[in-house]
């Protein structure tokens, strides 16, 4: 069963189909995590992206009911070197290909994924179409040309929740099948730009009573809820295009403690008058070294972003740079000096990835406590 990938520069990769049969357009990116594919597939930040895993053997441990990061798979397509149809793991409930089929995701395997990754690394992330039912290049090209790509488009609206809801679960201990559910001490409103559930689980396990709200919830409504803090989530696409979110954050600045992750970090920077730009091929993986400029310590971090805050654009703003990426010296985190707000570009909630940066959730709690000493 053939499947192909056509890139916007005309390059074609031919391999074998897995998952569902069909066609799908998206930005073709790569992720260097060696495990955690279920978390990656269900991370809403991958909306409209076709993910290539650099590790060649994917599907080895199958999928299960605990490792999803949202209600469904958001990735537009999935590319691996070798998909495994005989998963082996004590938590496995469904093979990767069945999982992709059930979630309607087009998969492509058995291509030289390293060649594709090197291509993207050299030429930059680009649009592509993955197809397992149409192989006429001309027709696929036409379809791909109609796909607008990510720059300048708000795709947060496609992934955010429609109605507010209360989050109930804590961090799962998979070895003891238990959850960490301490007493709720803080009320937090979390803007859902495409939020990963492990952020919500961690907030809950840090004693937060979390209400998740749609991305366009007005500041007034949030402040009326008498919450202790606001969380700005990760999410897909170009932050500059989500102007309503930026305006809402402007209205919240200084009025309530704010913590942002990934897109939330970019939106906070934009609300403060900073600028964002698109990286050549982004950061996606679980091994990026980030230096905490306050402590000098290195954190190995989970990353997933194609856009980045321009470090220089924050120069005359009242902010302190707190984290920097040691691979390419890009901005990874900052805090406001005069108001209670801080954020990071990377993913302290991990899932997948290392837990080195968990302390940021404690910092959020401290920020909320400082404001409301009881």
């Amino acid at each position: 069963m053939k499947a192909i990938l056509l890139l916007e520069d005309g390059t074609v990769f031919e391999g074998t189909s897995f998952g569902v049969k069909g066609q799908s357009c998206g930005e073709v990116v790569f992720n260097t995590s060696m495990c955690g594919y279920q978390e990656i597939l269900t991370d809403p930040s991958y909306n409209e992206q076709i993910i290539t895993m650099t590790y060649p053997l994917i599907g080895n441990y199958g999928t299960n009911t605990d490792d999803s990061e949202s209600r469904k798979v958001f990735a537009a397509g999935f590319i691996v070197k070798e998909n495994c149809d005989y998963p082996s793991n004590w938590r496995n409930t469904e093979s990767l290909s069945d999982y992709l089929k059930r979630n309607g995701v087009v998969g492509l395997e058995d291509i030289d994924t390293r060649k594709l990754v090197r291509h993207i690394r050299t030429k930059g992330a680009m649009r592509g179409i993955i197809s397992s039912n149409e192989f006429n290049i001309k027709r696929l090209e036409q379809k791909l040309r109609q796909y607008p790509g990510l720059v300048g488009r708000d795709i947060v609206k496609d992934v955010t929740v429609k109605k507010p809801y209360l989050w109930k679960k804590g961090v799962i201990d998979v070895l003891n099948n238990s959850q960490s559910m301490p007493e709720k001490k803080y009320k937090v409103v979390a803007f859902d730009y495409g939020i990963k559930q492990n952020i919500l689980r961690l907030l809950r396990s840090h004693g937060c009573d979390v209400c998740v709200v749609p991305a366009d919830t007005p500041a007034k409504e949030v402040l009326a809820k008498k919450t202790d803090g606001v969380f700005l989530s990760n999410g897909p696409g170009d932050p500059a295009a989500v102007s309503y979110a930026i305006d809402i954050i402007k209205d919240l600045l200084g009025k309530i403690p704010i913590f942002g992750i990934c897109l939330g970090h970019q939106l906070l920077a934009l609300a403060l008058g900073g600028k964002t730009y698109k990286l050549k091929f982004g950061h996606r993986g679980a091994n990026h070294p980030v230096k905490n400029l306050k402590t000098g310590r290195i954190e190995i971090t989970s990353q997933n972003h194609g856009f980045c805050v321009d470090l220089k654009s924050l120069k005359n703003k009242n902010v302190e740079l707190t984290h920097i990426n040691l691979n390419d010296q890009t901005l990874e985190g900052f805090r406001c000096k005069d108001i209670p707000a801080f954020c990071v570009q990377y993913h302290p909630e991990a899932s997948p990835g290392p837990h080195d940066s968990n302390y940021l959730f404690d910092n959020f709690i401290k920020l909320m406590t400082k404001r409301n000493p009881d």
């Binding site: 260097t32 995590s33 495990c35 060649p56 005989y86 390293r114 070895l175 993986g285 070294p289 310590r297």
Partner: protein, 672 residues
């Protein structure tokens, strides 16, 4: 934090002669340490009794003592040389034990010598099992239930609590020497007495058996600012109950979800901190219950180990070199990643291939030794292979072993072996069990049943099943029926030309010619530490059957050096010594050196020993493919021992017309 200013003269203790359980991996680590510490301007004093090592070359250290590695001798050297520091973590268990003895006897204090990397307290915490157990439990982690015995009486008490089977581990022995699994009281008594007699402290640990659980290892690095990274994860093909040195092992871990892997990662970081290894590398072993995921910490080596050598070669992250730099005060973010140049060493390598390490046994040289594998190491060497899939790496590893086997065929299994006998064989831990596993699939025994007999994870078993099923298909074809797509698939699975030729009833050169006529040739990919995210500047290559080739050969004058492959009895490290010197000599006369070898324990497979490194099996097929792509001016076959020597004639016949020609024959002035 830059280099420490209070260190000037460093004593490094080597590991002495090669013994089972301590091979040439410590020449690799010691040589890296000497080299980098001298580059940093330190005065390096070395003691090692093994002359067949690169590290004892005169230019490696400022002073080299070829003397027995005993506390008495080392004390004399300290007295004479007055080093201010001792780096004990690179010379294996011998180096570590000697350092412990020197510290305990007050010699280090007397001469004001400080231990770098690990201090006495942390070495003791890691090595003495009761202290280790307490440390692990204080971290909120678990170790198998166990008890100590200094006598047979105590041992009887202990086993009453645990029940059989139990593992007996004598304290402070090399390669788990004296370790055994006892299934009944009779065996127990025998093993206890032997264990007590072997332990220098007359102490054995009796431990709840976790035989059959999944076994994992993590290679961890820590710097003086408490930054910790995991260099590599390793999953054992063989379940718990077989010494890691005797297990087929695979990098990275294959069957852990991210949640489970992160639990292990968090545990490893807690452990290295709690044990208190200040700087450098450690190896931590875990057992995982296949049905519940329950995690036990098995042991920790607070030093560079055989697994560190493997992890270094598997990832391109030079653990010994970086451990040395960390020991003298550098932090991980201050050390550049040699391979990418642009990114720092404080990251966790990600690999985009699969690595298989396979132990090499020589039971025929030890008549009377049981060929059963247990918790005491019996292998004498190892080969490593790299492929884009597990199947490819596995089959490449077989032919890397140089035991005249090129596949998972059943040539060595008697056709009279009944299925009943076959199942009995699968229950034992014989060194060649994997061939019986393949045979079981040929006889249509189910994965589930094979798992129940072997406790080898079904993921590995099903990969072998894939190989056997394709092999059956190949057997049903004749050569002319194989088209390019089929040939590509076969080669992607790692099948050797030699085996395929024998299945098709043609000679290997005929098969090779046919394969090439279909335009199915290997390409070379780079080991780059980062899954192609950044450009690699170091040509460290392996073959696979895919589209893009990254070999990018130069137009320089160049010579291929064929290495010695895995260690065996009669071939230790001396051939590696010769190959490394061949590379150095070529450098001196301005000829590009291209190393081909598959032994991860060696200096020759360090990516900075030669100009280019191919981590490949030393067979005609694999070497000839490199000759085809590199078009060298010559191939040096005489320094790697018997293995490459045997390739001289076939290579010459195949048209590597300059094979066996040394550069000096071309008039370069007799430098060699």
């Amino acid at each position: 934090m830059p280099k420490r200013k209070d260190i000037h003269k460093i004593l490094i203790i080597g590991s002495g002669p090669i013994v089972i359980g301590q091979g040439c991996e410590f020449d690799y680590s010691g040589a890296q340490a000497c080299k980098v510490l001298r580059q940093q301007g330190f005065n390096v004093i070395l003691i090692n009794s093994n002359p067949a090592t690169i590290m004892t070359d005169p230019e490696m250290a400022d002073r080299t003592y070829i003397e027995p590695i005993t506390p008495e001798i080392v004390e004399k050297i300290i007295q004479k040389e007055r080093p201010d520091s001792l780096l004990p973590t690179l010379g294996g268990q011998t180096g570590l034990n000697t350092a412990v003895a020197l510290a305990e006897r007050g010699i280090l204090k007397k001469y004001n010598v400080r231990l770098l990397g690990a201090n006495l307290k942390s070495i003791k915490k890691a090595e003495e099992r009761d202290r280790f157990k307490k440390t692990i439990e204080d971290c909120g982690l678990a170790v198998p239930r166990s008890g100590y015995a200094h006598s047979w009486q105590q041992a009887q008490e202990v086993v009453k609590q645990l029940g059989f089977p139990v593992i007996i581990r004598p304290s402070y022995t090399l390669g788990g020497m004296g370790g055994n699994i006892a299934y009944n009281a009779e065996e127990y008594k025998e093993f206890i007495q032997w264990g007590l007699s072997l332990s220098p402290t007359n102490q054995v640990l009796v431990e709840e058996s976790v035989a059959g659980w999944k076994e994992y290892e993590l290679e961890v690095m820590r710097d003086c600012k408490d930054n910790v990274v995991i260099v590599c994860s390793i999953e054992n093909f063989d379940p718990m109950g077989i010494h890691t040195g005797d297990s087929i092992t695979v990098a990275p871990a294959q069957t852990l979800t991210d949640k489970e892997y992160q639990i292990m990662r968090d545990a490893a970081i807690k452990i290295i901190r709690a044990i208190g290894v200040e700087t450098g590398g450690s190896n931590i072993q875990f057992a995982v219950h296949p049905g519940t995921g329950k995690l036990y910490v098995i042991e920790m080596n607070p030093r560079v180990s055989r697994s560190s050598a493997l992890a270094s070669k598997a990832t391109g992250f030079p653990i010994a070199k970086i451990a040395s730099l960390l020991a003298v005060g550098y932090t991980l973010d201050e050390i550049p990643n040699d391979i990418t140049k642009k990114t720092p060493a404080c990251f966790e390598p990600t690999i985009d291939y699969c690595v298989v390490k396979w132990p090499r046994f020589t039971f025929e040289k030890f008549p009377g030794t049981s060929p059963e594998l247990t918790v005491q190491m019996k292998s004498v060497g190892e080969a490593m292979s790299i492929g884009r899939t597990f199947k490819e790496a596995l089959q490449k590893a077989i032919r890397s072993l140089e035991i005249d086997r090129y596949s998972l065929d059943n040539k060595h299994i008697s056709p009279e072996l009944s299925t009943h006998q076959l199942k009995d064989k699968l229950r034992t831990n014989c060194w060649d069990k994997i061939w019986y596993v393949a045979e079981a699939f040929r006889r249509n025994i189910s994965t589930e049943e094979i798992y129940n007999l072997t406790k080898i994870d079904p993921w590995f078993l099903n990969n072998i099943k894939d190989i056997v099923r394709l092999e059956e298909k190949i057997k049903s074809l004749n050569l002319r029926k194989i088209d390019a797509a089929m040939m590509r698939k076969i080669k992607e699975y790692g099948f050797s030309d030699k085996y395929l030729a024998s299945l098709m009833g043609v000679t290997e050169p005929q098969f090779r010619k046919f394969r090439q006529s279909l335009d199915v040739n290997p390409v070379y990919k780079t080991v780059d530490t980062c899954g192609a995210e950044f450009e690699a500047s170091t040509p460290y290559l392996y073959s696979t059957y895919e589209k893009e080739c990254e070999a990018n050969p130069t137009k320089k004058r160049k010579v291929i050096i064929l290495g010695g492959g895995p260690n065996r009895i009669g071939q230790g490290i001396e051939f590696d010594y010769c190959c490394v010197h061949a590379a150095f000599a070529l450098k001196e006369i301005g000829v590009e050196s291209i190393m081909v070898n598959c032994n991860p324990e060696t200096v020759s497979t360090d990516y900075d020993t030669s100009d280019r490194l191919y981590f490949e099996p030393l067979t005609f097929e694999d070497v000839m493919a490199i000759v085809d792509i590199e078009k060298p001016d010559g191939v040096i076959v005489q320094f790697g021992g018997q293995t490459p020597l045997k390739l001289a004639v076939p290579l010459e016949k195949a048209g590597a017309d300059s094979a066996f020609i040394c550069p000096w024959r071309k008039g370069d002035g007799g430098c060699l």
